[in-house]
């Protein structure tokens, strides 16, 4: 496409392409197009990848025009299109205005082979942006440098040779003098350090003075570009990291000996050689040099060359760095047998144990490194990949897609949060696809341990599949394949296994053998990481299956690495003073460093300890950064993060059972060794006596996995410093203990359970009453009864209530709806129905006081209710301190109200009353109960839902948004995150759910996207089952959304459009301007973005969770400070001053605190706020935290702050413009005559503040103006 734009633009732009009128014109036009196409196809750039030509950017505008005008040919030059005779086709098509057969084929292909047209087009647009530029101009400097480098290195022995002079490069004056005579490694290293300030990255133990061998520099035997760059498969890395151009430099054979395999001697020589190369390059070119040791393994060190800006070879534009990797030459003297997985190449010096035994302990890790470091291996790989590219048409795009997908999930390089083991695995994605298409090597039949498949052919994917299909096939494989059980052997070059397959299996690692049959590509990849990969692949497939929804961006465009929202449990482990309980000297050597050893054994131990509680445990850390060449060792990691994905079915169980008492001793010992003193022998109800570990639940069971990890790390690795956020988050949804102690004597009362019990008691009592009609149902609709209130219930027994200080006296009221059996005796008149309800309530209230001792019941009228709307409720306060507000649902009301709205004979205001009444009625009696039960279902399905909602609600409240966003909307939002977690797995803990919701909020483009929550489909469904919305529902949802946006483009209500199956229009919670307006939604997005930043950065330092809930007040025009001591909910504040209730009991009761009528649900601050909103709603925006907030943030409406001509009905308090401030005395301000004559008025801010403080007498401490 791009190419066409570049070339045929001039022709196209001038023409009007809109349905040409005359036939002749049409033909001419299409011929031209055809020619353009042909020209294009003839052009030599056959690289296959679409380039971002510089010329395209200029052509941008006309490009758009082409598309708008329905340019039929634009698709023509798609890279994968076959060359055909276009001129003919174009002709036919021009005449008929029909799509050509070719185009039809494409259209069909796109939908058949690529899920959908859109998906294909999106892929086409994605790929160029992740591949290196292919244009000659940008590549030239890099190619030139590579050539120069090659020339320089091949001739580097004779430093002063004439060639270097001849070459045009301006060599630096201080040319590195190549030492010609062999030197001891120490001497050579010292010389290098002295002369060029280059350290040698010796693996430990470094050579000493006793080392026998000597070394000298010789020019490399050969230099080959390898890896993704050579195969043209490079994919951009995360975090803007450069493309890597891997260059294998073969160490001359003379420098190596047969015995070099032993004890890393080869790697010592390699390090020396690398340092020499560095010195040579440093002296010859002006490039930046650094060492890089992938996966923290110094044996893999390579030299990284970056361009210097403005230097001769400035290839900055390519965003690439050159990595020089020394390898063994093709005719390496090191015998091939040494790289077998079973051979032992390391010896512990002066070991006390018998050396015989050690000879047989294999060192698979170092052997793999040894094998990787062979020129032969590398070239074979190169050829194999090349063969894939040629034999599988869509190989390169598919591999790229897979890598982009993986990179977004941290399976790649990046500056943050990469999954351990995948740092250097860029090529593996290609191998994977190659394996799936070409099939693997068959295993000997008798090698069958249970998992080995006996399938005849192992090829799974067809050669001719599209890139999307290949990608999908790979995901499918990843989602099902268990690398632990089933090894993978790629088709070998030689046609046979080099080493017996069983030898690979004996390494107890995931196995994926490369075509040379000598390397396990998955060596060094922890099983936990592969488990995570499997989860991710499963999740991605789920997304792709949902063809009706947007699938592209969750699959490829969203960065999902942020660990806080990714893992259910995230722990930051400080590695200072780490000391493994069991140390295996040989394995430490094999792994290369102590830290690597510890990391891999942490993985092992934790996997054993957590068992099926987790679906995956992974270690995450940033990719190791490069280091200056003067530093030999990579700086070691001081900490790493552990991420756990829990299995909600098992994660929170209290007991881990071990072997039975009569099991063989070794198994019991193993169990005891794992758990230490936690292990105990118990007898269970079923009579079995079993070793087990019991995790007493101290309140929150969701913390058990964290506790297990802490215990195990402390026991086995002496790791005590572990940071985690889960418990800190938990504290945010609890009231301070000191307040709770005052509220009730026993700490056991409270929580959701006892609230439910109180409710059940209430219902039982009503059922037992002697009422004219019997109770059919009592439907709760209160946050506290659906596990979503920020605080669990903390009832205050009535006999204690009057003794409490004012600031912890709040008793919430739980709403419920009573539904009685149907009766014909209800009056057919709205007003009368309300009166009859009053009579009902009176009876119920009397019965209550008779039946339940110590309880109170009375009738609460609704302020401001019109006579036709439901306007009263019975308020029952139980002696235990639970309060309920019961209303009666009468189904005929709805009909009567609807009739009143339709009735044209009524006055307009009567109909408006009826409308309002209907809104109240539907919300109270229909929507709320339905919503309630649906949310309870979500809670049952996902254990993490309730804690997450509570945190999210707390977050909204803390940011002073509780008066602008209804709690039900927040519940829906969280439900969406839990029910539609894709492309991630459903969170299982509150902190994860919270982080996920916040990051969702930060990304949600609510102007253009609505949420479809499959809330009502989950009833009775299995938690693992995916709930889909029907096509029809979806359609009507979109229609409703479009309709709303066109009707209200300014988004004065319902900026968030959240629809469910029952509420396809998404208006349940947005009536009467309750939902957020665009200003609020913008605020939420900004706050969420800031919070995400805190989460991301905070974890690296110490995340103070409360910082997420701290709201800066400086953005407001003025701030109303409330008097905390009179706020009944003050104890719920995020940072309450506990002395208010602990020390001073003196401000008890400014109200007559008779216990005869307890104040329940009395929240004067909220009342004040609602009054203020009613009075000043158009003038001021108020922001308040209902949860014990002590400040009300206020912002003037910028529109009313401007001077305006006077009108009687401006609707705000105004003063004549130009009236001066009165200073001190009472002299009246004089207005300047001209201002008066203009007759302009401005907002009278001071007077308004004065009125506010009058209205909040006794509640408001002060009002602070922040802007003037």
């Amino acid at each position: 496409m791009a190419r066409l734009k570049g070339k045929s633009n001039e022709k196209n732009v001038s023409k009007t392409q809109n349905q040409p009128q005359k036939r002749g014109e049409r033909i001419r036009h299409s011929q031209k197009n055809g020619r353009a196409d042909a020209m294009d196809l003839d052009s030599p750039s056959g690289s296959g990848s679409e380039s971002e030509d510089e010329s395209t950017t200029d052509a941008g505008s006309s490009d758009g025009e082409m598309i708008k005008s329905g340019e039929f040919h634009a698709k023509k030059d798609d890279p994968e299109e076959q060359t055909q005779n276009k001129d003919n086709k174009a002709n036919v098509q021009g005449v008929r205005a029909l799509p050509s057969a070719q185009e039809l084929k494409e259209i069909f292909e796109a939908s058949e082979l690529y899920q959908s047209n859109t998906f294909k087009l999106q892929i086409d647009d994605l790929l160029p942006s992740v591949s290196p530029k292919s244009s000659q101009t940008s590549r030239a400097p890099l190619d030139a440098f590579l050539l120069a480098l090659h020339e320089h290195l091949m001739n580097s022995a004779n430093a002063t040779s004439s060639r270097t002079k001849k070459s045009k490069s301006k060599l630096k004056n201080t040319v590195w003098q190549v030492p010609h005579s062999p030197q001891s490694p120490i001497a050579l290293a010292e010389a290098l350090l002295l002369e060029s300030n280059i350290a040698v990255p010796f693996p430990s133990p470094a050579p000493t003075n006793d080392t026998k061998w000597t070394f000298k520099y010789l020019p490399p035997e050969s230099i080959v570009v390898i890896g993704s760059w050579a195969a043209n498969l490079s994919v951009k890395h995360q975090d803007k990291a450069d493309f890597g151009v891997d260059i294998a430099v073969a160490i001359p054979t003379e420098l190596l000996q047969e015995k070099d395999y032993l004890n890393d001697r080869y790697f010592h020589k390699r390090a020396l050689y690398l340092a020499c190369l560095a010195a040579s390059i440093k002296s010859a070119f002006s490039v930046d040099l650094e060492y890089d040791s992938p996966i923290d393994d110094i044996r893999m060190s390579c030299l990284v060359l970056r361009p210097q800006k403005g230097s001769e070879y400035d290839w900055t534009k390519m965003h690439a760095c050159i990595r020089i990797i020394p390898v063994q030459p093709a005719d390496s003297p090191i015998p091939g047998s040494r790289i077998a997985p079973t051979s032992s190449n390391l010896r512990i010096a002066a070991s006390a144990t018998g050396s015989e035994a050690q000879m047989t302990i294999p060192t698979p890790h170092s052997n793999t490194l040894l094998a990787l470091s062979q020129m032969q291996t590398q070239t074979t790989h190169l050829i194999a990949i090349h063969n894939f590219s040629t034999s599988i048409p869509q190989f390169a795009p598919a591999a790229r897609l897979l890598r982009v997908w993986a990179n977004q999930r941290g399976f790649g390089k990046g500056k943050v949060d990469c999954v351990r083991g995948f740092e250097n695995m860029g090529a593996w994605w290609g191998w994977l696809i190659g394996y799936l298409v070409e099939g693997g090597e068959r295993l000997p039949i008798n090698a069958a341990s249970k998992g080995l498949s006996k399938k005849k052919t192992l090829a799974r994917l067809g050669r001719g599949l599209s890139s999307y299909q290949l990608f999908r096939g790979a995901l499918d494989f990843l989602s099902h394949h268990d690398f632990e059980q089933e090894p993978v052997f790629m088709k070998t070059v030689a046609g046979e296994h080099k080493f017996p397959p069983s030898s690979w299996l004996s390494t107890k690692r995931p196995v994926f053998i490369d075509p040379t049959s000598t390397i396990n590509l998955l060596e060094g990849v922890p099983l936990g990481s592969l488990n995570l990969l499997r989860l991710e692949a499963t999740q991605a497939l789920k997304v792709l299956d949902r063809t009706s929804e947007e699938t592209f961006s969750p699959t490829f465009l969203v960065d999902l690495r942020e660990p806080c929202s990714r893992f259910d449990v995230l722990l930051t482990v400080n590695l200072d003073g780490v000391q493994a309980r069991v140390e295996d000297g040989l394995e430490i050597l094999d792994r290369g460093s102590y830290i690597s050893f510890v990391t891999s054994s942490i993985d092992n131990v934790l996997r054993r300890a957590l068992g099926n509680r987790v679906k995956a445990i992974v270690t995450i850390h940033p990719t190791s950064p490069g280091r200056p060449i003067s530093q030999s060792q990579p700086s070691s990691r001081s900490s790493l993060k552990l991420g756990l994905v829990l299995d909600p079915d098992h994660a929170f169980r209290l007991i881990d059972r071990g072997p039975a008492v009569d099991a063989p001793q070794p198994t019991i010992d193993e169990f005891r060794e794992l758990w230490g003193d936690k292990a105990e022998l118990r007898r269970f109800a079923d009579g079995s006596i079993v070793e087990c570990v019991v995790w007493e639940s101290e309140g929150d069971r969701t913390e058990i996995p964290t506790r297990i990890v802490k215990h195990v790390l402390a026991r086995h690795f002496n790791i005590k410093k572990i940071r985690e956020v889960q418990s800190a988050f938990g504290q945010l949804t609890e009231q301070p203990r000191s307040a709770l102690r005052l509220m009730s004597e026993s700490s056991t009362i409270g929580g959701y359970k006892s609230a439910m019990q109180a409710f059940d008691e209430l219902v039982k009592t009503i059922k037992g009453m002697d009422l004219p009609l019997s109770l059919v149902a009592c439907l709760p609709c209160a946050e506290e009864l659906r596990y979503t209130s920020v605080f669990g219930s903390s009832p205050i027994p009535l006999n204690r209530l009057h003794r409490l200080p004012e600031c912890i006296k709040y008793i919430p009221v739980y709403d419920a709806v009573l539904q009685f059996e149907k009766s014909a005796r209800w009056p057919d008149d709205l007003g009368a129905i309300q009166k009859l309800k009053l009579a009902w309530f009176e009876t119920i209230a009397r019965e209550f006081t008779n039946k339940l001792d110590g309880s109170h019941a009375r009738i609460a009228m609704d302020a401001l209710a019109s006579p036709v709307e439901d306007g009263a409720a019975v308020e029952v306060v139980l002696a235990t301190g639970y309060a309920f507000r019961l209303r009666i649902y009468h189904d005929r009301e709805k009909f009567l109200l609807e009739r009143a709205i339709e009735d044209k004979t009524l006055q307009p205001f009567q109909r408006m009353d009826a409308e309002r009444g209907l809104a109240v009625h539907t919300q109270r009696f229909l929507d709320s109960p339905r919503h309630h039960s649906a949310i309870v279902n979500v809670h049952r399905r996902h254990p993490g839902f309730s804690p997450a909602v509570r945190l999210v609600k707390r977050w909204f409240a803390a940011h002073l948004l509780s008066n602008t966003i209804p709690p039900e909307l927040i519940e829906l939002l969280c439900a969406y995150v839990f029910l539609r977690p894709d492309p991630q797995v459903t969170p299982n803990t509150g902190s994860t759910g919270f982080a996920r919701t916040i990051s969702f909020l930060s990304n949600w483009d609510w102007r253009r996207e609505y949420l479809a929550v499959p809330l009502y489909g989950i009833a009775g469904e299995d938690a693992t089952k995916d709930i889909l919305l029907s096509q029809d529902t979806r359609k009507s949802m979109s229609a409703a959304f479009e309709e709303r946006r066109t009707r209200d483009p300014g988004m004065n209500s319902g900026a968030w459009h959240i629809a469910t199956e029952q509420d396809v229009t998404g208006v349940w919670w947005c009536k009467d301007g309750r939902g957020p307006v665009s200003m609020i939604a913008d605020r939420v997005t900004a706050l969420a973005k800031a919070s995400v930043q805190v989460i991301q950065h905070g974890l690296d330092s110490s995340l103070n969770v409360k910082a997420l809930f701290h709201h800066p007040m400086d953005g407001y025009d003025f701030v109303i400070h409330l008097e905390p001591s009179v706020l009944p909910r003050y104890a719920q504040n995020v940072l309450p001053d506990e002395t208010l209730w602990t020390s001073s009991l003196k401000n008890v009761n400014i109200q007559a605190g008779d216990s005869s009528s307890p104040l329940v649900g009395f929240d004067p601050a909220r009342e004040l706020l609602e009054d203020l909103q009613r009075v000043y709603g158009d003038t001021i925006a108020f922001f308040y935290d209902y949860l014990g907030g002590t400040v009300i943030g206020c912002s003037w409406n910028p529109l009313v702050r401007q001077a305006k001509p006077f009108r009687a009905l401006l609707g705000y308090s105004m003063k004549p413009e130009g009236s001066k401030k009165v200073r001190g005395n009472l002299s009246i301000a004089r207005m300047s005559p001209e201002a008066v004559s203009k007759g302009h008025v401005v907002l009278n801010e001071d007077a308004i503040l004065c009125e506010i403080s009058r209205m909040g007498l006794g509640l408001i401490k002060e009002i602070v103006k922040q802007t003037f």
Binding site: A97, V868, Q910, L1168, K1215, A1247, M1255
Partner: protein
Amino acid sequence: MQKLSDFGVLPIAYTPQVIHYLYIRAHITKSKAGAAIDEFPPNRTLFVVNIPPDATERELITLFSKPGTVERVAFAGHDRVEGFVDEETSDEEAAESLNMEEMEINDDGDDSPSRKKKNEKPKAAIPKIIPLPTVSLRHLRRTGSIGHLIFTSPQGLASVLSLPESALPLTWPKFKAASAAEPSGLAHYLAKYRSLRPALSAVKEHADSSMEVYEHKQALANRNTSKYRKGDAIVDEDGFTLVTRGGAYGQTLGGGVGVASKKFTQEIASGKRNRKKKSSKKDGFYAFQVREKKIQEQISLKKKFDAERSKVEKAKQGRKFRPY
């Protein structure tokens, strides 16, 4: 006094430092000449703009006590929420108009219990509604609202309109907390909370009496409507059966034999109910039809494809398809 368009600017000192401005003007009647009783007598009514939102009648009366005696205050603006007129009012007979004035006065400081009281108007010789007890509460209106002050005499109005500079600004009255009948702030909310929870006995009386009134009215209405009973066919002397249009359930209150409901007839009229007629035209009979259809299909396919492409193109401008 300063003038702003045709309004006088009346400064009110909330505190010595903070001045609130009222905009006043004599009330101009727009009513037709014939209107016998104007709600606002023309020569002694003051039209006031920008009344403080929390002002009570008492406070305003006190405020203007110096220049003249205010008879009553009429806060304007039918706050729909505060609507006081019951559905029943329209049902009732013409006597309504007499009550109007009284109701206007009661409007201020209105809260639901007191309104309840007013909903049920006393009727001659019928049971009376016993109202719920009321507490006078401060009523907050929207900021910048308007109202009318009716003075006892035209002199009062005149003296307000010609207040000398020296008398300005007027001071906003402040009642001592104890004497304040209408508390504000925390005390207001407490009083409101309590007033919304009347004693059970009062509620019972109110509910029972209201139901009595309703039943009485219902009985009255029934007497007036029809001698026919529901469901019975009405046959006149000549033996003809009266046919009426059905209600929602195909039955009418008055009885008679139901015919098609209005809705049904409307549907018939709008043609919604038209049964699908099999079109006599046969598709795909001629070869050209098949061809045309195929072409149409292909074109629409193409169109769809182009639409999707332009959608992608649009998305591209937004997100560029750069994953990271």
